[in-house]
């Protein structure tokens, strides 16, 4: 009987159902905190623990879904390419902003991990948490960190950034849409970008650009670690 859970069909359909439920919940309550991915992770983990289904069985299907991560990351190139005019016109502020932002993110995380005396493996897994999940995950893999810690930290960061973005804009007196968009994208990647799109068209486009540029910049900096 336990064999039936080892079929890839089980893991894949459970993941899809959980994510679909997550989207339903978000649509119903319209709260950014109720991130569909976060809900899906909690649901699937809960079901596996509740029915005592081993992770390895679920992962037969999980692996197949994982396979789509690399192609999805590659396609981020498409979203940069469609905004190439905006990138050409503002390449200097975009490059400077994303470089400084990525450095500030990694620097502040490094410093605080030392401050709290966090486990070395956990610290390395947090370093890339401000960039989009696929790139953050590849950085953590290279640094030999714990991938799921990265995934959860990335989602929490994105959700925070998305909720706090309007407050940040007032707090730091941001008036330029270019500045607002880049800052949102740099600190909270794709989840923040969905908020930036609501704020304005330029904000959304800039935030989308910042996802890719910050990702590449962070990968380059991470090459110097260890």
């Amino acid at each position: 009987m336990s064999d039936v859970f080892s079929s890839p069909f089980f893991g894949i359909s459970l993941s899809i159902l959980a994510f679909w439920a997550g989207e339903k919940v978000q649509k119903r309550f319209r709260l950014t905190v109720l991130n569909p991915l976060l809900i899906a992770i909690v649901l699937v983990t809960g079901i596996l623990l509740l029915f005592d289904i081993p992770y390895e069985a679920y992962n037969e299907g999980g692996q197949i879904i994982n396979m789509f991560l690399a192609p999805a990351t590659a396609c981020l190139a498409v979203s940069i390419y469609t905004r190439i005019r905006l990138l050409k016109e503002n390449w200097l502020p975009i490059l400077v902003g994303c470089t400084c932002g990525s450095l500030a993110s990694m620097g502040s995380i490094f410093f605080m991990c030392r401050l709290f005396g966090l486990d070395e493996k956990v610290s390395l897994s947090l370093l890339s948490k401000s960039v989009t999940t696929p790139i953050a995950v590849s950085i953590t893999e290279r640094l030999d960190g714990v991938v799921p810690v990265t995934v959860v930290a990335v989602i929490i960061t994105g959700t925070l950034g998305s909720i706090l973005a309007p407050a940040f804009i007032r707090l730091f007196r941001v008036r330029d849409p270019l500045e607002a968009g880049l800052a949102i994208g740099a600190c909270s990647h794709a989840v923040g970008t969905s908020k930036a799109i609501e704020i304005g068209e330029t904000e959304g486009a800039m935030s989308g650009l910042a996802i890719g540029i910050c990702g590449i910049v962070t990968v380059l900096f991470s090459l110097f670690i260890s």
């Binding site: 993941s15 899809i16 959980a18 994510f19 991915l37 899906a40 992770i41 983990t45 992770y55 679920y58 999980g62 879904i65 994982n66 690399a70 192609p71 999805a72 990351t73 590659a74 396609c75 981020l76 190139a77 498409v78 979203s79 390419y81 190439i84 200097l92 502020p93 902003g97 400084c100 932002g101 450095l103 502040s108 605080m112 709290f116 966090l118 486990d119 956990v122 947090l126 401000s130 999940t133 790139i135 799921p148 810690v149 995934v151 959860v152 930290a153 929490i156 960061t157 925070l160 950034g161 973005a165 940040f168 730091f172 500045e179 949102i184 740099a186 600190c187 910042a210 990702g215 990968v219």
Partner: protein, 119 residues
């Protein structure tokens, strides 16, 4: 056949980037190589957006879903995280504020410097 072709193009691109990763003298994530490679293909016109439109829309718009299994594997690390939940959350909040502020200010300074330089 159209979708199969698009899947073929993108999967081939991912495989080529694995080959490049294996050949590089330093370790660089293959998925980011794939992203740079695709960008160069689009830039040079080797590929047109139309060649991969539907497949790329599918991948980009469902991006979050593909991370469900990666996130679920956190259940194997619950004891590692149990002691550090509070610092973890604190790090997420503080670094988000710092990253936002530094990005905004550096963009502002650059834009101001460019205006002065043009005058």
């Amino acid at each position: 056949m159209k979708i199969i072709k698009q899947v073929g193009i993108i999967f081939l691109l991912c495989w080529v980037s694995l080959v490049i990763e294996a050949l590089l003298p330093f370790s660089f994530p293959a998925s980011v190589i794939g992203m740079i490679l695709l960008f160069l293909c689009l830039l040079t016109g080797v590929l047109k957006i139309g060649h991969i439109q539907e497949k790329s829309d599918f991948l980009l718009s469902n991006m979050a879903f593909f991370f469900v299994p990666a996130g679920v594997s956190i259940m194997n690390y619950l004891d590692l995280l149990a002691d550090s939940v509070v610092p973890l959350l604190l790090i997420c909040v503080v670094s988000t504020v710092i990253t936002f502020a530094v990005t905004a200010w550096s963009v502002r300074l650059t834009a101001a410097a460019m205006r002065r330089w043009k005058r």
